[in-house]
Symmetry: C2
Subunit: 333 residues, 2 copies
């Protein structure tokens, strides 16, 4: 099982990806930026959502996360002047992300490409490039690639003025968060042998974690999942749950903890379990690293749930599906 | 069963809500608008997403859909000058939407309130108001309120320059779409007695329909659902499905139909059913009304699936949950 090793290596990946991006960006000067688009699909989209608050703190103008297809369907609505397009593709092979990078650069956007694969089509575009040292992650479900993307995006935010601590000084706390997540995942999993669906809810940056956490559980354990902001979860979505369901509510702060309590009490009469996920599993991590560390629980849960179902966690539930869907320009899963 | 009557009344609701909003807006002149925020939760959020392309056609600046909590968490990032805040609350009682309307107006945004309830707290705010004649819809799951919201938002887009046909001239086509949706829902439902989850995928305005359609099935039939853009669905989400699952892919155009075919062929070896939902169930409806009409199938499916499970479709699966969650300022479900 390679994925356990990859998950365990994430604190190192975070530190190295942040540092590497910071070094690359030292000399990056795209001129005045009034608008930032974070563009990616799957885990890269989720990473953009997690980094959104930091990017908003760094740039005065509008910052948004956009799917590649959404960009390609309406590129004419993008005001190019002063627009920074950050295209994230961990594999460097997402067909639509590549097309966006080409199109944005041709339009005159400042275009920055983030990829973990130096040999990829994305790296070969000849555009300003941040290489993320996520290392060898040849298995299907990516975990290091995801945290590397978030760390690199945080380095961009820091380069343009957001107040972000260098994660190198926090490595022991990241390790402690990882250990705590593994322990909790192992404690939660045995009660979930008959779970029918897992709903993950979180606000702001935590909505990105909800997207990524729910995706990992779906990909690795093959369980139906969904992610919503807490507000959207409360406006009707809970009616899709049963006494076999689980709600994981990410509570970033006191407001989030209060909301999670309200949900737990409202669902208790119906026998629906609600578990709170702290933004950081330890109190010793400042934002945004505590937010990133809250992803660890979902990764470990995905592995535990897969193992209990007799699935190989290194594989997606349906190996080869990505290839058959023709969404990558190489042969990655 | 009142909901069947409400669903059937929707063509009339669409025509009346559009006309009523158009009349109200004749004299509405908020000054130059460079930025539009469509604000709402639940069905109102979904309605905003469906109306987004029309609003983008109408206004030169940035248009986005924002959840009320997201607005309240970062109101200071909203550039007020030339901002139009359109706050949609069908009940007029969503606590956070009311707070947003108050806050946006106090900040100096041009603030327009859309509600179906003339007696509501939202109507009493003293702000420019569009009353949506959705009529009496006292049951839990709202259908008329949703289409009324979309129609009123389309009237705003038309008032500010989008090219939109008056739906009054399309009433027979809307009726035909409704009949076709009912027939198809009744044909699809019997195969879904053991469905474990329904994933709805759609792009652009159809992503709004995917959100609303999946919400109605969850609320009324109590089945786990999720909504994604087609691109996000392809990037990992399909691994959460089983041979008991259903994918409903909304295909707005030739591109969408091709994508839906790709998904169907990729999932066929795993025994996962994929059904295509045309943007409009008949060819006789122009955009945006064909988009709105594609919602009918999901509403009828929700009712059929509830009936086959012995559930009362007029009730949400967990009646009273909204009250216990304290998200409304009145006693609505």
């Amino acid at each position: 099982m390679q994925i356990a090793r990859h998950i365990a290596e994430q604190p190192t990946t975070i530190v190295e990806s942040y540092r590497s991006a910071a070094r690359t960006l030292e000399t990056y000067a795209p001129g005045p930026i009034g608008r930032v688009l974070l563009i990616g699909s799957g885990s890269s989209f989720n990473a953009g959502t997690v980094a959104l608050p930091s990017m908003r703190a760094a740039f005065a103008g509008e910052v948004s996360v956009v799917g590649p297809q959404d960009f390609l369907r309406r590129p004419d609505t993008v005001p190019v002047r002063g627009t920074l397009a950050v295209v994230v593709s961990q594999s460097g092979a997402s067909a639509t992300s590549l097309e966006v990078a080409r199109r944005a650069a041709a339009m005159g956007c400042a275009t920055l490409v983030l990829t973990a694969n130096a040999e990829s089509a994305a790296a070969a575009l000849g555009l300003p490039l941040v290489l993320m040292p996520a290392g060898d992650e040849t298995i299907g479900p990516k975990t290091k690639g995801y945290v590397a993307s978030v760390a690199a995006l945080q380095a961009i935010a820091a380069r343009f003025g957001a107040d972000i601590a260098d994660p190198a000084e926090l490595a022991p706390n990241l390790e402690a968060a990882l250990a705590a997540a593994e322990t909790r995942a192992k404690a939660l999993a045995p009660a979930l042998d008959k779970v029918d669906t897992i709903l993950v809810a979180g606000d702001g940056a935590d909505f990105g974690t909800a997207l990524e956490g729910s995706l990992k559980i779906a990909e690795i354990a093959g369980i139906p999942t969904a992610a919503y902001t807490i507000e959207e979860a409360l406006h009707g979505r809970l009616h899709g749950l049963s006494e076999r369901s689980l709600v994981l509510a990410i509570a970033a702060d006191e407001v989030g903890r209060t909301e999670a309590s309200t949900v737990r009490e409202a669902l208790a009469p119906h026998g629906i379990a609600v578990e709170t996920v702290a933004a950081g599993p330890t109190d010793a991590l400042p934002t945004p690293w505590c937010t990133l560390a809250s992803t660890f629980l979902f990764q470990y849960m995905a592995v535990e749930l897969a193992l209990r179902r007799g699935r190989e966690p290194d594989l997606m539930r349906y190996p080869g599906l990505t290839r058959r869907l023709a969404i990558k320009v190489d042969d990655s899963q």
